[in-house]
């Protein structure tokens, strides 16, 4: 299977990258731009074929390594 882990900053955590992109888009003359936030996607190829088991494994990966839950949320998508 393939897992896609979406990692986003929690609301309330200032996102320097997003802010910088916002400013740059503004400089470039794009208007009507509201908030910009930047997140990560980590794609993982898995040997596991059982969806429930795969999800549990990826959950564990997120908690142990992929996301820093002090500042980040994560969402898992399997295919």
């Amino acid at each position: 299977m393939k897992a896609k882990v979406h990692i986003t900053l929690k609301t309330g955590v200032l996102d320097p990258q997003g802010k910088a992109i916002e400013k740059s888009l503004d400089h470039l003359g794009f208007d009507g731009i509201g908030e910009v936030r930047q997140g990560k996607v980590i794609e993982i190829e898995l040997a596991e074929t059982d969806e429930a088991k795969a999800r549990a494994a990826v959950e564990a990966m997120c908690r142990k390594l992929l996301a820093n839950t002090v500042i980040e949320n994560y969402a898992i998508e399997l295919s």
């Binding site: 990258q17 910088a20 390594l65 992929l66």
Partner: protein, 230 residues
Amino acid sequence: MKSAIVVFPGTNRERDMAKALTLVGGTAPTMVWHGDADLPQGLDLVVLPGGFSYGDYLRSGAMGARSPVLDAVKRHAEAGGYVLGVCNGFQILAESGLLPGALMRNRDLRFICRDVHLRVETADSPFTQAYGAGEIVRVPVAHHDGNFFADEQTLMALEGEGRVAFRYCDERGLAAEETNPNGSRDNIAGILSANRRILGMMPHPENLVEPALGGTGGRPLFESITEALS
């Protein structure tokens, strides 16, 4: 004082740290490889030095915080041992939960290497006792991810318990937005654990301990630990 420096793949300021510890403290630290499950016996101080453990990939300090040696560092800390984390070491301490908060990308997104001024916020710690409270010192920073974040509650606890060790300021001690090099909340440059035996800080005291290098602002930190642990 018996000290050890943990070396992760990608660590690059371990020699700087060893030089400073040896120069000021008089004894050379032991180098511990990240894969080791145990720390040397009878250790007083563990140092997580600066650099780019695991290339700073994923998040700075994320992979270092999950390496086997960190379990030993945690045991050392739980037993009341002293831990110093500088720059990448601070990032690892935050990632491992030994210190609260997180270190995010610098506000201006650029790596910054330059001298900054710090206000010593508390002299009540084994790492800062040789400074005067409120003293202003000059030391360099060299980081890409030094933007300290913590939620309101954590910040209140840190402030309330006097656990903010250093704050970025100007040469007169003014801590304001203009004197904040990286966007850290409340200009925080370094914090202590609840038992005050763990210090994490972004600036590099080890790079300014001799007049030949341009200053000695980092020296009292090493004098403090040496005295506390002798």
